[in-house]
């Protein structure tokens, strides 16, 4: 009997301990594995993942539907007859594959220059104690908050007057955005500068000092030591810059005005282009009315390059954001 009572106390104690542990688990302090809380976590995470994916799943499902499936209320997810003609039409209307190549070189060029200027700026802040350094660093952060509409109007005026005074075609080319990017005013520049700044600070200063003693110039140090050591960071910044420039439509639309056909811009104008081209779309019988299936097929095509990039480089992307270094 004595033994029995002891067991009971032990059981009670365990239960309390379990609840105790469960509570810790939720608050992010992992003492042990609480099964109950873990199941709840999984349920929440899976439910949220579903909501994350929902638009993309819907897009994939709709893009395979025939016009009949779209109006049929009984068809929810799986089309009655899978058709790829939406993709063929969307491919044609988007102007693939030329649009794709345009987007690649356009974003690639901008990303290249944005990476270079972010690296030199990050290097200046990470390595040198110059006057007003703190002030300029705060300005880098503030430049992220300044809304684009407030600065874009004088930028447009500048480039249009330059165009008319020099006679060189600027609007409708990559030049305005390239100039802005080369001078560090590209999309999300502040984040990219922060990534470089934090990485460069981790490289021991003794390396530069040793090189300086051997007679290297500051630029040589930057090129031969710092850049060589930070190839993974450079790749990360380049990828981010590439994707952000790819997805950017506000500034691009303002300066290009459709002169170079880029994938996201074509997608934005898909409805108009579709109705213009409707009779020419191959294999569709000439009577085309736009519907959700075409739009979703076009959306699908336009994000495939990004999905492929992400599939190969997801680690770089996530670690890149971790290295923005907002840690303390």
């Amino acid at each position: 009997m004595n033994k029995n009572g002891k067991n009971k106390i032990k059981q009670k104690f365990n239960k309390r301990l379990f609840l105790h542990r469960l509570r810790y688990k939720f608050i992010g302090y992992n003492v042990v594995d609480g099964i109950g809380s873990r199941i709840v976590s999984y349920i929440i995470l899976i439910a949220i993942s579903y909501i994350f994916f929902y638009p993309l799943l819907k897009m994939a499902s709709m893009s395979l539907m025939s016009p009949n499936d779209i109006i049929n209320p009984e068809v929810d997810w799986i089309p009655e007859k899978i058709s790829f003609r939406n993709f063929m039409a969307a491919w044609y209307v988007l102007g693939m594959p030329k649009t794709l190549f345009n987007s690649i070189w356009y974003s690639g060029t901008l990303a290249l220059f944005q990476t270079i200027v972010s690296a030199t700026t990050g290097f200046a802040f990470a390595r040198y104690q110059f006057k007003f350094k703190n002030f300029w660093f705060t300005m880098v952060l503030i430049s992220f908050i300044i809304p684009l509409p407030i600065v874009i109007i004088p930028r447009i005026m500048l480039f249009t007057s330059l165009q008319s005074s020099t006679g060189i075609q600027l609007i409708g080319t990559i030049i305005p955005q390239l100039v802005l990017t080369m001078f560090g005013q590209g999309i999300n520049s502040a984040i990219l500068i922060l990534i470089f700044y934090n990485f460069f600070r981790m490289i021991p200063k003794s390396l530069d000092e040793a090189a300086h003693i051997d007679g290297a110039t500051a630029f040589q140090v930057f090129w031969h030591i710092i850049i060589k050591l930070s190839v993974p960071t450079i790749v990360t910044v380049f990828l981010f810059s590439f994707v952000w420039n790819w997805n950017e439509t506000y500034v691009t639309g303002t300066f290009l005005r459709g002169a170079i056909k880029l994938l996201p811009m074509q997608l934005a104008n898909f409805d108009n282009v579709f109705s213009d081209l409707a009779s020419q779309i191959p294999g569709q019988g000439g009577d085309n009315r736009i519907n959700e299936a075409y739009k979703m097929a076009a959306t699908f095509i336009s994000i495939i390059p990004l999905l492929i990039t992400y599939a190969f480089a997801q680690k770089q992307f996530i670690e890149g954001i971790e290295n923005t270094g907002i840690k303390d």
């Binding site: 992010g28 030199t120 509409p149 500051a218 790819w246 439509t249 996201p264």
Partner: protein, 308 residues
């Protein structure tokens, strides 16, 4: 003056100045020329009538005429602005809170942690204005019609305002979640940097997990919450769920109203953004009573926040 090779004292400072500014130069010129100058020039333009002539841009001072047309004569601008402000006020806390909860869940030792992170980060890569526009346009983002759920009807009869807020939140719930990609990573990063021994010490001193959460996790995470809030406010402004952006763009293209009107729009819009950001800062900045007790530390913390 030939002492520049000296590694100490004045020589070093001078050298640092020259080299620092040499590397900073491209950004600095760009910032002054393409951001600071436009900031003031847009302000000047907003009081002018701007016309494109054969000789170039022509400006004529017209006082507050542009602001009057923006706020009083244009019947679309003010409602769009109010909608935008409402969206920021409702979406931002929701996004920050959801990403914080998800970060806590992902900070546990669970399986497929990496896969979940990959899923939650995906929208950062694929989200562009046009993709979002097409998805919303085809109704791919609406998971449920909240209005048809029974509980919602009860809430509506109780408080129409609360019901409206819930409706706005859930209407594009997927899109809302798509903004959490970067905040989640920032929060996880912050949570992982918290020293575990702090929790152990608190536990030994008899603190419950709930107390530890409020007294340790929240204060340490506060600066990160501030940064994610800023980030979210800015991001919400960039995408086409913001009706004001497209109005400003239309005004830029529209020759009748001209760039003067667009400038007035831009200034009013930026002012609203500024007020929202300031409000977020005042709400989330470190509390005085906590920081004054450790005066030395407070200054250091502020510095850290600025430079990290």
């Amino acid at each position: 003056m030939r002492k520049t090779k000296n590694n100490t004292g004045r020589g070093k400072t001078r050298r640092d100045n020259i080299r620092g500014y040499a590397f900073l130069a491209p950004w600095l010129f760009g910032f002054l020329g393409f951001t600071v100058f436009p900031l003031f020039y847009t302000f000047y333009l907003s009081f002018n009538e701007v016309k494109m002539t054969v000789l170039g841009w022509e400006t004529k001072f017209i006082g507050i005429e542009n602001y009057a047309s923006a706020l009083l004569r244009n019947i679309e601008f003010t409602p769009a602005l109010v909608n935008f402000a409402l969206m920021e006020i409702i979406y931002t806390p929701a996004i920050v809170l959801i990403s914080f909860i998800l970060a806590i869940l992902l900070n546990q030792k669970i399986k497929f942690r990496a896969s979940f992170r990959v899923i939650f980060f995906l929208p950062v890569i694929v989200m562009s204005g046009s993709v979002m526009h097409q998805l919303m346009d085809t109704g791919s983002t609406e998971i449920v019609w909240v209005g048809q759920i029974f509980i919602f009807k009860i809430i509506y009869s109780y408080s129409p305002l609360l019901a409206r807020i819930i409706e706005i939140l859930f209407q594009n719930f997927s899109i809302l979640l798509w903004f959490t990609g970067i905040p989640i990573v920032l929060f996880i990063n912050g949570l992982q940097k918290i020293d575990r021994s702090l929790y152990e010490a608190a536990q030994i001193d008899g603190s419950s997990s709930w107390q530890s959460f409020w007294k340790i996790t929240i204060p340490i995470i506060r600066p990160i919450a501030l940064v994610t809030t800023f980030f979210t406010i800015v991001q919400l402004g960039v995408f086409p769920i913001n009706p004001v952006n497209s109005m400003i763009q239309d005004a830029i293209y529209n020759t009748a109203g001209g760039l003067g009107l667009a400038s007035a729009y831009a200034y009013v819009y930026s002012l609203v953004m500024g007020v929202i950001i300031l409000a977020a800062f005042l709400l989330l900045k470190e509390r005085e009573e906590v920081t004054t007790t450790i005066k030395g530390k407070k200054k250091k913390k502020e510095e850290d926040f600025l430079y990290e």
